[in-house]
Symmetry: C2
Subunit: 178 residues, 2 copies
Amino acid sequence: MESSIRAASVEDCKDILRMMVEFAKYEKAEDEVAITQRDLERDGFSENPFFHGIVAEVPEQHKTKDGHTKIGYAFYFCNYNSWCGRTIYMGDLYVMPEFRGKGIGRALMSKVAQLGLAAGCHQLNFTILDWNKSAQDFYLRQGCVDITASTGKHFMRCEGEALEHLAQPLPNAGLMTP
Amino acid sequence: MESSIRAASVEDCKDILRMMVEFAKYEKAEDEVAITQRDLERDGFSENPFFHGIVAEVPEQHKTKDGHTKIGYAFYFCNYNSWCGRTIYMGDLYVMPEFRGKGIGRALMSKVAQLGLAAGCHQLNFTILDWNKSAQDFYLRQGCVDITASTGKHFMRCEGEALEHLAQPLPNAGLMTP
């Protein structure tokens, strides 16, 4: 009896958000989850979606004690790299703890890889937290490389007031002095 | 007399590729540039583009000794974050060396920030190489944060044979044992 992996639909957003919160708890960042079910419905399932999702589902007889049958998800979108062109970026990969070790995480990631290759992408990229050794081991077993460790690539961010400030043009921005 | 910043058009791809190669040389990765002008034209300027670009241009009288008036570029696309939703990702930010220190890099990045905020994005994300201290200083002055240093977020990649292998479903993938 198999779990199934399929494209997410708008009806899955409630369960995806539930699992996103579980994932954030695991990453010790529950307080940072500001996203809502409405955001997911609007951003993932409108005409020009910001992301695509897949879910892993088990038959009714294997539901969790809380009655959940949607027990894993991944989301992804296309990115671009000035060296190699199209790439696919995997935003999250999550399987509920009681369903781990059964190949479901690998099957979800395999599906993202298939979709990426079909879209002409040359790389599958994602991030992990360096203390999450079990996730790191899993990804290394799939042949992934830690680019930060091998090349010194660091992830940078501008947000909040700094982003608002950056968006203000400076009076002399772009002025060319002779 | 000002430099102008405008949306890239398909006619800019030759110059964008020239600057991408210059940028890769600076990052000591010239050999890794596999992208072609045709790739950029197809992927950035078709119905569902994989990226958007902006270019910085100077008037004819300020052209380089090689006759170039397009002297900087950035490219960007929307990403998604399961904690905060829409984000904007800046792929490259490049200004030709002889035009640096005039606010053009800041003006390009400011434009990406404006476009991101207008699209409802909460973060501007990008990567840098940790040995590139002058770029790092520039970004820190704009209020950016090194997320890899502050949270341990590492950039991971699967490509080539590992990606092809990952895309092959395993015989028992997703099998649920009772």
